[in-house]
Symmetry: C2
Subunit: 413 residues, 2 copies
C-alpha cells in the first residue's frame, strides 16, 4: 500500500511555519505498514494543486492531503480533489449541524462562508472533527483502487482525527497489521548504541529494529507484521529480551508515550523520594522539564535558581571559600549545591547544575560548554563533568538531559 | 526566479525527524525575492530521485537539494543530479585537502568512502563546508538557464553555508535586491493585530506587509524590492512609521533577531533594574526562557520555584491566611508571591506565576487553564488573570509568554 503525503498551504511553502504534521503522518503511516516514497508541499494555487494531486493519485494508492479545508476562497483542497475524482460537491446536513453546534458551544458568529465547510464530495466518507469546523473526508475510487484522504491543517484537529478514524481505516485495508514496541535508552550515545545492536538491525526482517535519535536519548522501535496483536507480541518478545540483555538499566522505558522525565518521576514515587533542583546555567529549564509531568507535585515541592554566587551561598549554603578556591563552575561547587539544596528543601534527592553556557565567560581552563552536574541521593553525592560543544541553547538543553540521566542512574544503583 | 526545494533522506520521509531545513530555506529564499511553488521530500532511491529532479529542473529555474551528500552508498544526491545535468564526477583536490584537514583537527580516522565526498561534477562551483566534510555544490546549465544547488543535510552545516555563500550567490542573480524589516508585537492577539493593519496589507505591493504568528507574539515583515539598501530603507520608512503609530508600545522590537526576552533584558538594563521570578505551575520555564539571553546575569541573580504551598510561605513569605482564604491560584497569592520574591531576592522587579496547568486539579470555579501572573515593579504590584484553553504544555508555555508581556508593559508605563 503506497501512501503519498501532500501538505497544502502558503505558510508552509514560504517557511512561515515548520511542517510538523507531515512528520507525524509519515511516522504513523509507516507504523501502519504503508510504503512512503514521496512528500510534497503546495500553495493555494488551483492549477499547480490539481497537477500535483493528479500525479500523486496516478503513482500512489492513497494520497493524504492536509490543510486547505478552511472557509475562505483560498482554501481549495476539497474542491480540487473532488475535481480530480470527478465528484460534485453537495451540502452535508450532518456536517452543517455539527458546525452550528460548534459555534453554539464556542459562542462565535457563523459567517456565510462557514457553510462551505459542510459541502462534501458525492459518495465521500465524512469524518467528524471534534476540535474544529472542517470535517475530514475519505474519497474512494474503488474501480481504480485509488483513495484520497483530506484532513484539516491545524495539528490539534488533524492528530485526534487521524488517531480516532483514519488509523483504523488504514489498518482495515491491510490483511496484516503492524504492531510496534519502543525501547528508549539514556546514558549511551547514538552511535555507540547502534553499534551495540548493529547485528540485530541487519539480521531482522520481521520484526525489524530501527533507531531514532533524540537529544541525549536513543529510541529503538521494534516493528512486527502479524495477523493479530498477540502473534506480534510473540514475535517481538525475543528481540525485546535481547535488547534488555544488551542495554540493561540504560533502558528507561519500553512504552511508546513515556518520557524520560516521566520515568524518573515514577522512580521517585516508587522509592517515596522527594526531589529538588538547584540550577545555575540552566536557570529553571531542568525543573521546568521535570514539571512537564502531570502529578510531579507528589515528588517536588520547591527549587532554586542560583545564578549569582551570592545566591548559591544564601539559598544553598555553598561555602564562600569553596567558590573562592574552586570557582562557581567546579566539582566542589556542584556537590555543595546539591547537598545544600536537599537540606534547604528537606528533600531526599537533589540535582544541581553549574556551568558555562556561553557565548561569553569561557577561559582556556574552563571553556564554554563545561558543565558540572551534582546529584545527591539520601546522603550520597556524585558529580558528573560534561564538556558540550554547542551554542548557548544546546549547551543548556544538553545539561538538562545529562542531569536527568545522572539522576536516573543514581536512583537505579 | 522560481526556486524549488527538494529534501533527500529516508529519515525525513518516514517521519523520524522533523524537516526544519526546508522551513529555513523557504523563508530565506522568499526573503531573497525568489518565487516558491513546490517543496518535495524523496528517499534514497535512485530511480525516484532522478524522476523528481528531472521534473523539478524542467519547471523551475533553481532547484535546491539538501541531504544525501554523505559518504555511504545510500547517499546519491550528487550522483543523480550530475546524471541529470550530464556531468561526470572528478576528484576535487581542494575538497580532498579540506577533508584531510577536518579529520586531522577532529582526530578521527578517514575511511576509504570519505573520498567519495571529494568527487565533484565537472564545472560545478564547490562551496567549502566549515562544519563538516561534504562540500556544497552549484551546478549551472547556462544554456538552459537551470541551476541545481546541493547542500549538506545537517542544519549546523547547511545554514552557515547558505548564509555565507548561497544567499550572496542568489542575490547576485536578481537585478533588484529584497530587503526587509521585522516589526514584532506582543500583548495583542493575532487576528486583532491583523485587523488593525488589514488596509495596509491589502494596499501595499512594494513594500509588502505580511504577518507571522508565534505563541503569544505577532511578527510583521515589511519587505521591499529595490536596487540598493538605502533605497529600500526609504521605501519602507513610511510603512514602518505607520506601524509604530498604530501599535505604539506593543512593538517590542524592529530587529529581525531580537527576541521578546532579549528586549525585556535590554529594558531592565536601561532602567538599571534587577529581576527575580517566583514560579508555581511554570516551575522554572519562565526563568529558563529569560536566561536564554546571554548576559542576563547582569539583571538576574536568583529565582524561586515554589510548587508546594509550604514553599510559597517559606521562600516568598506568602501569608498562610491568604492561601487558606483565596487558595494558591488567586490574585492575592500571585501578588504576595511577586512582592515576597522581590523582597527575598532584593530585586527591583519580580514576576510570579500561579495556576492550574492541568490535566488534573481543575474545579468549576477554578478550571484548568486558570493562571494568575503577578508583576512587582519598584513598589507597585499588578496581577493579570488568564484563562488558557490548551493542554498542560500549552498552558505553561502561554503563561510564560503572558508573564513576559505583562512585565514589558509594566516596564513601559
Amino acid at each position: 500500500m503506497v501512501v503519498e503525503l501532500i501538505s497544502v498551504g502558503t505558510e508552509i511553502l514560504l517557511g512561515n511555519i515548520v511542517n510538523t504534521n507531515v512528520a507525524y503522518l509519515a511516522e504513523q503511516c509507516a507504523l501502519l505498514g504503508c510504503s512512503l516514497y514521496r512528500q510534497s508541499v503546495i500553495g493555494d494555487n488551483e492549477g499547480r494543486m490539481e497537477e500535483m494531486i493528479r500525479q500523486a493519485v496516478s503513482r500512489s494508492d492513497i494520497v493524504i492531503l492536509t490543510g486547505g479545508l478552511g472557509p475562505t476562497k483560498d482554501d481549495l483542497t476539497k474542491e480540487v480533489t473532488a475535481k480530480v475524482f470527478q465528484r460534485a460537491l453537495r451540502m452535508d446536513d450532518h456536517s452543517r449541524e455539527r458546525i452550528e453546534g460548534f459555534f453554539q458551544r464556542r459562542g462565535g458568529k457563523i459567517t456565510e462562508n462557514n457553510w462551505k465547510q459542510a459541502m462534501v464530495p458525492e459518495g465521500a466518507i465524512v469524518i467528524d472533527n471534534d476540535n474544529g469546523t472542517a470535517p475530514g473526508l475519505i474519497i474512494e475510487d474503488k474501480e481504480k483502487g485509488k483513495t484520497a484522504i483530506l484532513l484539516p491543517g491545524p495539528p490539534n484537529e488533524m492528530k485526534p482525527m487521524f488517531e480516532k478514524d483514519i488509523a483504523p481505516y488504514l489498518r482495515k485495508l491491510s490483511p496484516e497489521g503492524i504492531y510496534s514496541r519502543m525501547v528508549k535508552i539514556c546514558g549511551i550515545g547514538e552511535s555507540a548504541a547502534e553499534t551495540m545492536v548493529a547485528d540485530l538491525m541487519d539480521a531482522q526482517t520481521n520484526p525489524t529494529l530501527a533507531p531514532y535519535a533524540k537529544t541525549g536519548e536513543v529510541h529503538f522501535r521494534i516493528t512486527a507484521k502479524a495477523r493479530t496483536e498477540e502473534e506480534a507480541e510473540e514475535m517481538m518478545q525475543p528481540l525485546l529480551e535481547e535488547m534488555k540483555n544488551r542495554f540493561g538499566n540504560a533502558i528507561f522505558t519500553t512504552e511508546e508515550k513515556v518520557t524520560l522525565e516521566e520515568a524518573i518521576v515514577e522512580l521517585l514515587k516508587e522509592r517515596k523520594y522527594t526531589l529538588t533542583t538547584a540550577e545555575s546555567c540552566t536557570a529553571g529549564k531542568l525543573a521546568g522539564r521535570i514539571m512537564n509531568v502531570a502529578g510531579a507535585s507528589e515528588v517536588y515541592n520547591e527549587g532554586y535558581i542560583t545564578y549569582a554566587n551570592a545566591a548559591k551561598e544564601k539559598l544553598l549554603g555553598v561555602k564562600h571559600e569553596t567558590l573562592e578556591a574552586y570557582g562557581a563552575v567546579s566539582e566542589q561547587t556542584a556537590a555543595e549545591m546539591a547537598i545544600g539544596a536537599a537540606k534547604a528543601a528537606e528533600a531526599d534527592v537533589a540535582l544541581s547544575v553549574t556551568g558555562i553556557a556561553g557565548p561569553g565567560g569561557g577561559t582556556p581552563e574552563k571553556p564554554v560548554g563545561l558543565v558540572y552536574i551534582g546529584c545527591y541521593v539520601n546522603g550520597n553525592v556524585s558529580v558528573k563533568k560534561c564538556l558540550f560543544t554547542g551554542n548557548r541553547e544546546k549547551n543548556r538543553d544538553s545539561s538538562v538531559v545529562q542531569a536527568l540521566t545522572l539522576l536516573r542512574s543514581e536512583l537505579m544503583k
